[in-house]
Structures are given as C-alpha cells and as structure tokens.
Symmetry: C2
Amino acid sequence: MKNLARKRPTINDVATASGVSRGTVSRVLNGHANVSLAAELAVRRAVAETGYVVNRAARSLKTSRTGSIVMVLSEPQERLFEDPNFSVLLRVATNQLAERDMSLVLMIAGDRGGRDRVARYLRGGHADGTLLVSTHAGDPLLEEIERAGVPAVACGAVLGRESVIPYATADDHGGAQQITEYLVGQGRRRIGMITGPLDTPGGLLRLEGFTSVLGRKATKRRIVNSDYTQAGGEAAMRELLDSVPDLDAVFVASDLMAAGALQALHAAGRRVPDDVAVGGFDDSIIATATRPMLTTVRQPLAKVAEETVRLLIALLDERDVEPVVLSTDLIVRDST
Amino acid sequence: MKNLARKRPTINDVATASGVSRGTVSRVLNGHANVSLAAELAVRRAVAETGYVVNRAARSLKTSRTGSIVMVLSEPQERLFEDPNFSVLLRVATNQLAERDMSLVLMIAGDRGGRDRVARYLRGGHADGTLLVSTHAGDPLLEEIERAGVPAVACGAVLGRESVIPYATADDHGGAQQITEYLVGQGRRRIGMITGPLDTPGGLLRLEGFTSVLGRKATKRRIVNSDYTQAGGEAAMRELLDSVPDLDAVFVASDLMAAGALQALHAAGRRVPDDVAVGGFDDSIIATATRPMLTTVRQPLAKVAEETVRLLIALLDERDVEPVVLSTDLIVRDST
DNA sequence: ATGAAAGCGCTAACAT
DNA sequence: ATGTTAGCGCTTTCAT
C-alpha cells in the first residue's frame, strides 16, 4: 500500500475505465454533440470513479484559451485598497467567474514594473480577458493591453476611452445630481463640494452632476479638489471653511473623504447637520461608522461588478456589448 | 503588411533567431549552468528582438508546476470583505508573488460549491500552493487541501492546526494584553469586552489576552461574544450596558465592532471616553473615521502578509519553516 | 557546452 | 457516433 500519492488520472485513464476512446471522453467533457447516451454515462461514471480533473495546462496548450482572466488594478496601490468598495468588486467578480469555471488572477500595475509584468503576462497569452479597475485615460497600460490583443472591459468608465473599452458603472453624474438636489431641497443655499481626482470618472462626473444642478452658483471658490483619502477630505474641508466661512452644506465625492470632512468640521466647531450639512458618496462601510452617520449616494457596486463580468464574458463569446450605467440611490441619514 | 497580429513567438523562433538549439534556449531561460557566454548573449538578444514570452501552459504541462498560488477565503463572504484589513493582505501578497513571477488566484470557499471548486482546482494541480485566509479549524476544506497534497500556509493561525499548517500572525494575545493593561493603567476598574467569534484566532486569543490581565475580574457577565460586524458590535454594546450598567471601559476585538459600540454608547447617552473608555483592535481605516477616534491595537498586517508569502515560498522550496508571530503596537487616540 | 528527441495531457481534424 | 492521430510549446534526458 505504498505510493499513496498516486499519479493524477489523465483522460487516458478515464478512457480505459469507461471503455471508450480519448476522443469520446473529450467530447463528453466539452459537451460536444454526437455522443451516445451510453458513452456519456460510462464516461461520467469513470470520471467520478477515477477522480479525474482536467489538466488545464494541457487544454490551454491545445486551445490557447486559459480559463482565467486578470483583474488589473492600475491605481497607485494604497488609494484603491483603502477603498472599502474594492472588496465588493473582487468578491462579485470572483464568484461570477467561478460559476463559469474561470478564475480570477489579481495583478497590480501601479508602477512601471507592475505594468511591465501585466504586459508580459498578457502577451504571454496567460489570460483570456482583462478586467480593468480604476484605470486612467493616459495609462500606458492601455496601449499594452491593446497590443496584446486581449479583450478588456472596465469597471467604471475609462475617461476618454468610453467608446473603445466597454464598461459598467454607477451613474456618477446622476447620483451627484440626486444628492445636490436634495441639499437644495432642504433649503441649503451655500453649497460647496470636495471632489475626487478629476482624471477619474468619479472625480469628474460627480463634479459635473453637482454643477449641473447648481448652475452658476457652483463657483470655483466653493469647489476643492482632493484625492479620495480621509486626510485629503479633512484638508479640503479646512480649505473650504477658510474660503467660504458661511458654507451651509458640502457634497463630498466619497464617504471616506466625508469622514475627514466631518473631523475638520468638528474641529472647527461647526455642528453637523445644523450648521453644515454633509453629503457623501458610495454608501461604503464608513458611512455608518461616522457620527453623525452620513447621508450618501449608494452605488449598486455588486451589480456593477456583475455587469462588468457579464460584459467581459460577452466579449469573449464575441457578442456585441454596450456600456452599462446603473442608477444610484440616495440614502438619507443624520448628516443632512 | 497584413497579418499584423502575427503569431506569438515560441522557443523555436528564439532558437532560430539566435542560431542555437531549443534546448540551449531553454537552459538560458531557466538559468541552468553549462551555457557558454556567447550562447547566452545570443539567446538574450533573440528574446528581446522577437518579444518572446514563455508559454506557461507548455511549461506547466512539462514541469507540473504552475507558477500560481491560490488565496482561499473560507469566510462566509461578507464578513471578511467588510473588513478593510483584507485588502492589505491581497495587495502585499500579490506584490510579493509578482516579484517571484508568480501570480495570485483568488478563490472563495464560503459555501459548499465554493469549497468543491477549490478542491477540484487544487486536485487538478492548477496551483503550486495555497494561502489560507481566515480558515476555521473544522473547515472541511482543510481535508481537501491535505488530500490534494498542495502546500498550504495560513495568514493568521488555523485554530487547532497550529502545528500542521504554518502561519504568520499578529500577536493577538499580546495585543489584547497591551490595551487591557493600558485601560487598567488609566484607572478603569469595570472593564468589559466584546469578542469576535471564538472559533477564530482573533476571537479566542484576544479574549485570552484580556482575561490574562484581568484575572478573576474578567467575569462572564462582562464578556459578550459578537461577530466582527458593526451591527454586531452595536448590539453587543447594548447588551453589555444592560447587564453591567456601571461599566467604565470596554475592549472591543475589532475597530469595526468598536464603531458599532460607539454608536450604542452615544445612543445610551454615555460619553466616550469620560464615562466609558473604548479600545479597538486592528487600527483599520475605520479607527480614524469614528468620533472620538479610536484608541486601538495596530496589527502589522503588511508584515504579516509578507511573512505568510515568505513561508509559502520556503515551503515550495522544501525548506523548513516556523510559525511567525509579530508584535503589535498600541495606538492611543481619543476614545480612552 | 550543445543538439536531438521524447513526451507531458489535451483537443480537433480526419477517417470510418 | 466513435476511434485514430497530429501537434500545441516546453523541459530534460541522452548522446556527443
């Protein structure tokens, strides 16, 4: 009874065990037509008995399909990972792909080295598709991906490439309008905004949504750009209070930054929402950890991730795809 | 000039271009000895010129090594993904592996189906190693992994398997002692605790650290088990206030639960830290989003992840490994 | 130090 | 409907 760790069964073992040829086993495994019921049954039984699992390397060598897709993060690392939303993408994408028996490889292309690795990986044909997360318009990675000829979709639009790279996204513009209108409706008159980086869709589109509601009342002085971090939000809030002391509301483009803004307001002795109303964006886990809890815009992130994967799979199947924009919900809590 | 998307160069192309045989190219690529300088140079140049990238599937077919490792999440999905700490693991592990030109595949084994998929994946030989995250002692997955014969390490100890599965972890016990001693040193006398699930190391060991400091003063009434969620922390805090109304401090086993506890205390009209001091654990992104900001125990998570990967690589190289326990830091903020 | 050649496990084209 | 076979790109043994 030695040699317990016996060799992995191959398709040949299954063929022998089921009394048919390798070819037929393969046909059964891949769901091809033209297989008799008897053969199919025999094969299925043999697979179960032998504990056969397909060798993907061999399959891939033959078909040049890998069964895995890469999620590429092109964010300067920390920022994205600080973002609690990111986990949702990861979870949903993993599960969606798993259902199709595909696997998710994670790669970080934050710097030159990372980008090169991704490029080499793709050019090596190690993945069937690419799922871009928070990729910027000018990112050199985009060219590499194009050159590699691997289908790509983006979770959130890639600014400037909307017509080239299919994407699914929450309606940033609409969501920003929603909460801005709400603030106006509450009687707020001097409303400021803290934006994300303007080379990201969330940075740009939320700002545009904001200004589309306020028109000329959205003045430059009332708008401060920041960077999606809590510290950035805090600094931006201080700046805003400085330049617009009579501010009575602020729309902050992410919950994390809004948490920073709350700290700054508290430090400045402003009461929220009495003196200043604060609106966030994301409805992330942060939103209920602050005091007061944040009124915010909920992104249907799980759905966004789901749709992104759906797009990618459609692309792999060579079906036509259209961008998907999903609407957001206003979640009213205590900060407004 | 048609056919732009020309075929990927293979090792044969490199051989032709450099005027040596396939075998020699392979030897150069894999850093074997017995290669003349001239040959090496010629091959390197040909690789650069042709843009050759190794076909992993072919290599894997031959060597039965895959160059990828799986990170298996065996948490009932949401809980872990809610945890901002998790992102750190992912980032560090991805980068560490990338340096060795290995890639990280993410799999979720939260339910039966997920476990089966992981098992099949491993039995199929699709990964060289396994990186376990938040795996419980009784998890049937453990057997599957053992059966698959794939090396495994854990990020955080697997309770009950400490001697079988190598791990790297923060010093949960010591960290809990640190903050408990601190609370005592601040003159707090009636200290309660909200724990994580007791089948997790963080749940159990932090509780043990707590009781090791308080001795018999750590009574059952003052200890409430919870589940690492914010809502859970809030409920636990209410319970605690109910049964121990004169509580003057509470150690909460995670920042996220502590955020919930703060809400409950606020709702109950207790001032923090004046009436009740609150200590957290993790120093996650939540810790500075709350008001007051949390005094907490910082886990060197990046380091933990790094060490976990190091252990796994050592294991793959068939070197001996020892568990790694990394010490924590007390971060004093405003909640105590 | 290098070349030649076998073969890893699979799929798909071809033959029947 | 099924069997036979070539070959995907690589590593490695065996010769030399």
